[in-house]
């Protein structure tokens, strides 16, 4: 420990000097590259007063078991001061399977709540003030039908479509790179995203239809530069989709948001986000011709990344979570969701979720993170590193565009998945040979067995309850209306009309998610994974 550090190279490959000064910023037009907070290019933040006007939104990821249990966890988090919800769905729901499907065995309600029909969503949001609480839906391949369900729930809570606020993750391209909850091939999946962007822009203008995720790309092994670069390549595809539907760039670009990861070197992460804001603003203005500054603001949720947490000495993850929250606040995130300390094992227990929430509250209410905007701005090191990160992110985007034929092709043929997997392997080697330091893993390791942490219990009877409820809902629905709605979904899928209106109709008719997915699979087919490694 007392040995002097001779060489520092960040994960993104940037060498760090022992001291930075004004000479490192020579040649950078600071006035133009920084601007004032709230002004182009938004390096220092997207609002003039940032947290002074309004602190970051706290939005812990939650949802498990039955809709009733999820509803209780939502109420618990709101009662403890959380001001937004981030809904976790179980894997069958994310893959468009009903709880009764053979592939759903052992997974119903395990990593999120089980949703088969509108009835489940109605229970989950019963008594939740969704006119005041913004709700984020973490679902991708089947985002369109789940959004349809949410819009119907909102309508029944008396919130008209024009006033519905919230976000759907709905980023299918990253799903092929990391996380893996894809169903349909790339092209029809993109069409579904186009449908949701177009529908929301015209009908639900306050809703954020897509949250582009660098998070899962980083969690799958990408370095911080690649995290931003690949996410921006994906976001540019979605902007092109919107344009192809005849939407003006300024009508929808501002409704795209981002979801990013935080783990690793503190300064590298802060510089990553400042660089990303600047580069996104330039991209939307220069490449897409936006004129409204609102279109150019990179809004993000950024909390801790599960990839930075360790199985070893799990309580250390509490400390890591606090640092990740600090990084997020220093980076000007709009919304924060922290990984809980048991996240390396399981979905968070109530105790762990509450601790994450308190971590954010301590930061914003005790530690002075609200007091002034972009407190690291102007630091020789941080500004130099921000500039360096921006250059490297831009270079990586160029490599995807010119070397790989664009992100859609790179996803379809598996190039980007292979690149990320190799990066993950190199990282793992670094952990194992100690060149990447990790406390509890390759530093200060304790060889006795780690204590067992309390895990979120799985109750198999939940699956039966879900199957039974859906059986009753299906038995009680109007069979003629359900069949007609199902046929209209099929027709729209075939003839290319926007799928959102028939999906909303199918939701109202209590057509199950599994039935809808079956109709779409029959038309679209299923993705065949290249499987390169």
């Amino acid at each position: 420990m007392s040995k002097a550090v001779t060489e520092v190279v960040l994960e993104s490959g940037i060498s760090v000097e022992p001291v930075y000064g004004p000479e490192n910023l020579a040649g950078i037009d600071m006035e133009r590259e920084l601007g004032r907070p709230g002004d182009f290019p938004f390096t220092r933040g997207i609002h003039p007063l940032m947290y002074r006007a309004r602190p970051f939104t706290m939005r812990q990821y939650a949802g498990f078991g039955t809709p009733e249990e999820t509803n209780a966890r939502f109420a618990f988090l709101i009662a403890n001061g959380q001001d937004a919800l981030n809904v976790a769905f179980d894997l069958p729901t994310q893959m468009g399977l009903d709880s009764s499907d053979a592939m759903a065995e052992g997974e119903v309600g395990r990593v999120g709540m089980a949703v088969d029909t509108l009835a489940d969503m109605e229970i989950a949001f019963d008594g939740i003030p969704i006119d005041q609480i913004s709700v984020s839906l973490t679902v991708n391949a089947l985002a369109a039908p789940i959004m349809a369900m949410y819009f119907v729930v909102a309508e029944r809570h008396g919130v008209p479509l024009t006033e519905v606020r919230g976000t759907a993750q709905n980023d299918i391209l990253k799903e092929y790179i990391g996380r893996g909850a894809w169903v349909f091939p790339v092209e029809p999946s993109l069409r579904l995203i186009g449908d949701t962007i177009e529908y929301c822009t015209r009908q639900a203008p306050k809703y954020y239809p897509v949250s582009v995720c660098g998070y899962h790309i980083r969690e799958s092994g990408a370095n911080p530069v690649q995290e931003i670069a690949f996410a921006f390549c994906i976001a540019r595809e979605y902007l092109r989709l919107g344009l192809s539907r005849g939407l003006a760039i300024d009508a929808f670009a501002g409704q795209l948001s981002f979801n990013f990861d935080i783990h690793g070197n503190l300064f590298e992460q802060v510089a990553k986000f400042r660089a990303a804001r600047r580069l996104w603003a330039k991209t939307v203005r220069e490449e897409f011709g936006a004129e409204d500054p609102g279109s150019m603001k990179m809004k993000m949720i950024a909390g801790g990344g599960g990839g930075g947490l360790t199985i070893e000495q799990p309580e250390n993850n509490i400390v890591r979570g606090a640092y990740y929250a600090l990084i997020s606040a220093l980076s000007g995130a709009q919304t924060m969701a922290l990984c809980s300390y048991d996240e390396a094992y399981t979905i968070p227990t109530e105790k762990a979720a509450l601790l994450s929430l308190r971590t954010m509250q301590i930061l914003v209410e005790e530690m002075g993170l609200r007091d002034t905007v972009d407190p690291l701005g102007g630091s020789y090191y941080v500004e130099w590193l921000t500039h360096e990160m921006e250059k490297r992110i831009a270079a990586e985007i160029l490599r995807v565009d010119t070397g790989w034929g664009g992100i859609v092709r790179a996803v379809r043929d598996g190039t980007v998945q292979k690149e990320v997997a190799h990066q993950a392997w190199r990282y793992e080697q670094g952990l194992q040979d100690g060149t990447i330091p990790k406390v509890g893993v390759n530093r200060h390791r304790v060889e006795e067995q780690a204590p067992e942490v309390e895990l979120h219990p799985y109750k198999p009877e939940q699956a039966q309850a879900s199957v039974e409820r859906t059986r009753q809902v299906v038995a009680g629905r109007d069979p003629v209306a359900a069949e007609a709605a199902r046929r209209r979904v099929h027709q729209a899928a075939v003839d290319g009309a926007n799928l959102m209106p028939p999906l909303i109709e199918a939701t109202r008719a209590y057509v199950t998610l599994g039935e809808i997915t079956g109709v779409l699979k029959a038309v679209f087919g299923e993705f065949r994974e290249p499987g390169l490694f």
Partner: protein, 141 residues
């Protein structure tokens, strides 16, 4: 000439987190094994079929969703029915208390998240060496 030991790395079920599976696949290939990766969303039946077709000595399952006990029980049952006895390994988010129940199901070894890559390769070699020196074990062919 000895041909390299064939290993099937499989992602059963709906869980799509394959960073660990891909890293282990790369590490085992580097360690001299011939590795086949199934890709995501495989049914137990598909994995057994792949094990049969590819004639593998080892099947490594990666499960991060928590459904490892359900999946392992079904895989062991299907392998038995197919008359296959590969060395079965399990990796992923496996709490310590579930290790013995998995071994009781017939899983050869469990490598939870955080295991060293070289230990996985060494573990395979050790298990296969023991199996080939014991007349009662090994693959029936």
């Amino acid at each position: 000439m000895d041909r390299p030991t064939r290993v099937l790395i499989a992602k059963p079920g709906l869980d799509g987190h394959d960073r660990g599976a891909r890293v282990v696949a790369l590490a085992l290939r580097q360690a001299g094994f011939e590795v086949i990766y199934t890709g995501l969303h495989q049914t137990v039946e598909q994995i057994v079929e792949a094990a049969l077709q590819e004639d593998v000595a080892v099947v490594g399952l990666s499960v991060l969703s928590g459904a490892h006990l359900t999946i392992a029980a079904r895989l062991m049952e299907q392998l038995r029915r197919a008359g296959l006895q590969p060395l079965v390994l399990l990796g992923g988010n496996i709490p310590r208390r579930d290790v013995q129940p998995l071994l009781d199901l017939g899983v050869g070894a469990v490598f939870p998240t955080g295991s060293r890559l070289e230990d996985i390769a060494a573990g395979i070699r050790q298990h296969l060496a023991v199996a080939s020196s014991s007349p009662a074990a090994g693959r029936p062919r």
